[in-house]
Symmetry: C2
Subunit: 386 residues, 2 copies
């Protein structure tokens, strides 16, 4: 190994090895009392190309104009301290140099990123993606970006997403919980950070946060009452997993039964995850009941459509024999035959309301505790007409 040469005094004697530093051999020149390592020759080149590739900064403009960075900043931000003349000059120079502010740096100093975080169970069902559409729409109107994380109906993913988003990435959070989320410590831990949070659609009463409710109890009541008015007496109710506030749909169902003097029958109420097999199994059990059921109210349109197809395969007339109702008003309910009676929860409006409520908090800088219910509307179609 050739002896190292000191970059200062250029001698090769009296050079000592001085440990390995950052994976590079280090030397020490006794003459000039100088530590050094052998530089990669690519370094200088790298430095040059780096400079050239960088987007123009305030500094570049300042240098080009021969003024200070602060003046450039103020000029571009229309600060009154800067004369009209220099302001115009600088603006012109900035556009000619294709300047665009570095949002990261701005966010760092302003402590605001102009973006909202969304945690949502799923992106691919229209039910959720239309909420997302509403959020996006409102956010964009106020100049906010949207960072989306999908929890995939997985609680641990929700926790991880929350963690990731809350580290200075976002000015506010919109969250719609997983079906299986029943502990909320991960949210509680974030509630003192000063970043407003709004729960939407699937909310938890355990958390003192503003919420956007869908009109579930009333909707379920209306659907059930509609079935009763159509003469149904044994109305089966298909619910999702036992979780969160969604199950106040059960309350609406029970309330309608009560008001019309129909006794609750535990056999007619089933909880399932939303898998196809579980849905079909539940329906088949009901079909074996005596006396026969005359209606199925599914908490989800998707399941309701599956049920309709299943019943048709079994040559069971809808609504002649059994009426079927869904919940949510997805597009498929309009396509299936017979068309599905359902309850429109106005998912897009929910998203919009959530985003609005969040933005209010961000802009006014105070945490509200207001909660909003989005009214829905029953949609009566063929699957319950007799």
């Amino acid at each position: 190994m050739p002896r190292a040469k000191c970059p200062k005094c250029q001698i090769t004697e009296r050079i000592l090895k001085s440990g390995i530093i950052r994976d590079k051999q280090r030397f020490y020149c006794k003459d000039c009392n100088y530590h050094f390592t052998l530089l990669h020759d690519g370094k200088k080149q790298k430095n040059e190309t780096k400079k050239n590739n960088r987007p123009t900064s305030l500094k570049d403009i300042a240098q080009a104009a021969g003024i200070s960075i602060s003046t450039v900043s103020r000029a571009l931000n229309n600060h009154p301290d800067i004369s009209l003349e220099t302001r115009n000059n600088i603006k012109q120079l900035a556009t000619s140099m294709d300047y665009h502010p570095n949002i990261l740096a701005q966010s760092l100093v302003n402590r605001s990123t102009q973006s909202l975080g969304v945690i949502i169970p799923n992106l691919e069902t229209t039910f959720f993606s239309s909420m997302l559409g509403g959020i996006q729409h409102i956010a964009a109107k106020s100049g906010y970006r949207v960072v989306i994380c999908q929890s995939d109906e997985n609680h641990m993913t929700e926790v991880a997403n929350l963690q990731a988003l809350m580290n200075n990435m976002i000015d506010g959070l919109l969250i719609c919980h997983t079906l299986y989320t029943n502990t909320f410590d991960h949210v509680k831990m974030q509630m003192n950070k000063g970043i407003p949070i709004v729960q939407f659609y699937r909310v938890s009463e355990e958390l003192k946060l503003p919420k956007i409710y869908s009109d579930d109890e009333n909707g379920a009541f209306q659907i059930t009452e509609h079935l009763i008015n159509k003469g149904c007496k044994k109305i089966a109710l298909l619910l999702g997993p036992k979780a969160i506030s969604i199950n106040n749909r059960l309350n609406g169902y029970l309330k309608a039964l009560r008001m019309h003097g129909i006794n609750k029958d535990e056999n007619l109420i089933k909880h399932v995850d939303f898998s196809y097999n579980a849905v079909i199994a539940a329906v088949d059990e009901w079909l074996n009941l005596e006396p026969e059921i005359d209606a199925i109210f599914s908490i989800s349109d998707k399941c309701a459509v599956q049920i309709i197809r299943h019943l048709k395969n079994k040559n069971i007339k809808i609504p002649g024999h059994i009426s079927v109702c869904g919940f949510g008003n997805e597009y498929t309910g309009e396509i299936v035959e017979p068309q599905l009676t359902t309850f429109d929860v106005r998912t897009r409006l929910i998203g919009e309301a959530a985003a609005k409520l969040l933005l209010e908090q961000i802009i006014d800088k105070k945490t509200k505790n207001e909660s909003i219910m989005i009214d829905g509307k029953i949609i009566i179609r063929e699957s319950t007409r007799k």
Copy 2:
């Protein structure tokens, strides 16, 4: 107005007004040659609460441990320069102080934000949202966040979104163009910034960028040939607006006709925007043709479903009288009666492939020019069975 008091010498005489600065009256004390303004009394309080509200930083940990910031940083990043002992101590202290790195600051110095940008025409149709799901899935696996902008099929919005995203917010961009995007200067302007871009689904040959194609031409060919094999001879083709590469579906259609010796008939090819009225109008025109058409091939499943319902309203038998095909394999095609023959373009796979291709470029730090085609699959259902 009471005279101002100099905060240094505490006198009230010899105080001069000295202009308005930052919207506050400014004073000058002749005695101590000192400029000052009347401070809002809330300032100190604000300063305190601010400090308390802030998340813990490296500085806080360093102060608590009595060491330097750099040591803390290196310890938490497992840098070998730090002894195991201090490293463990610092890590423990960090978790006990609930430290989480400020991603903005990291991004600023590392010049990387660990997030991908997506520009997509629409969030609310399953067709696009499932692509988005694929993107999200792959990005999350590599620890990347996703920032989503929806262009709403509006060219100007696409341009604005692009501008906003490319200012240091993202490490790479996935873009699916608007139906009406036919100039691409806004993209060209961003191509030299060193941020990799991948086009997906709706791509433009005008841009020298890696692309993810769907198997459109082949798909249209297969659908058309399938119709011909079923005995159809007058096959109407419903296309979207004249734009981008999507229209090589037209090529597939024409190729199939050619191969089977069927002459092209201009009357059978119509371009429409995807509005309901335009679709129905096109179909009605076709229905008046002589000799009668025996098939309709719609470029979009959504329109195909509308067409089926329209034909059924007119008591036209499907496929007995007219066969109907769609393109895309949306869920509604399975629900509608008769079930829709269509072509599965595997939207989710397209999203995944796009994200993978982008991530490769980001991680390898070199811009590729590879393009990928995602194979689709024809799905034959009732709407073409005779």
